[in-house]
Amino acid sequence: MSEGAQSLAGAVDERLLEELPGLKLRYLTVERGSGRSNRGLKQRLRILSDRMAGQQAIAVRNQPIPWAYRVFFRHIGLDPDEQRTPVEQLVLERMLKGGFESRNLLDDALTIAIVESGVPVRALDADRVAGAPGIRPIGPGEGLEGRPGELPGGTLVIADEERPLGLLFGATAAGRGVTKATKRTMLLSVGVSGVPDIAIEEALWLVADALESG
């Protein structure tokens, strides 16, 4: 990512904004896909693992940013102890596996960014996104590719100008995620009330920087 690169704001449905003020979507496109992780990222994962002992893991949910996402999950009908917030899911995996495991360039970059910032970031194949992404309730008759049937009315999704790309804090539509064939990656981060813009920017920047230096 060039030093001056800024993320862009995705559209959020007006009715949603009235109900859930503070909800926002920022996205950034990086001109590369995933690949093998490098030594630097693996080293950063190890350092992060060492910093995250049991006591820190227990305290995560009370930190302001993870707490804001927990509360938002409650607000939109999700149980954060069943469908964990991204940062809590990673911390739980760290506790169960004894460390943050290296998978590939993109996953390692996402892990570092999410754990460092507390802000969830997800990645899509930018060439499979039509126009600018946004957050909206699902429309009548709409579903998620790769998932049989329609989604229940009012389900919140991240969508491009043509179709839903994934559930808000949930599954990604089939064929929209990053694969080995991906040449350009779109990084998306959902902000909620209580999460400062700078934290969202930092999370996106961390992933983009790791991808571009990988």
Partner: protein
């Protein structure tokens, strides 16, 4: 708040038409207030969770309405009430355990003061709310000789086994 009792069909209510509708702004204000209350309860529950670590066996789960979607007043009320009940139950359980742990700490003091009166009694760290692995054990000095002569002492174990040991 009367508005809290109403249901909004556009955002998940089920009994629209059976109750007089409050103005849209009132209903929105009610939902915002409920969300604020949910945030406050979630924080209190999280703080209690952190302070009770490593005690296990306390129920923390709060069922969700299902989503992701914008919840109506009735669903937000149910979430708030479920959080409130869970918080009260968890506090009661923590208080009950605190009493037990204090009684066990008193027992350890009595054991140390008079080991012979507490023969073979063993108190583990978790019995007094600590997170390490040690235990206090009243046992005879020099094995059978101590037993025969009544030489008892409280032995403190050396703690947790080494990782990977």
């Amino acid at each position: 708040m009367a508005a809290l009792l109403e249901l909004d069909p556009k955002v998940g209510g089920e009994r629209a038409g059976f109750v007089p509708r409050a103005p849209v702004e009132d209903r929105r204000a009610a939902r915002i207030e409920l969300r604020r209350q949910i945030g406050k309860l979630e924080r209190e529950l999280g703080e209690l969770f952190a302070t009770t670590f490593p005690r296990s066996g306390i129920e923390w789960a709060v069922p969700a309405a299902g989503g992701p979607r914008v919840l109506g007043i009735a669903e937000l009320e149910r979430t708030r009430d479920a959080l409130s009940v869970r918080l009260a139950d968890a506090r009661a359980e923590v208080a009950r355990r605190a009493d037990t742990e204090q009684a066990n700490r008193d027992l350890v003091e009595r054991m140390i003061a008079d080991p012979a009166e507490h023969r073979w009694v063993r108190v583990r760290s978790e019995d007094v709310g600590d997170r390490d692995c040690k235990h206090w054990h009243s046992r005879p000095r020099w094995g059978i000789v101590g037993m025969l002569l009544g030489w008892w002492r409280v032995k403190l174990s050396s703690g947790c086994p080494l990782a990977g040991g």
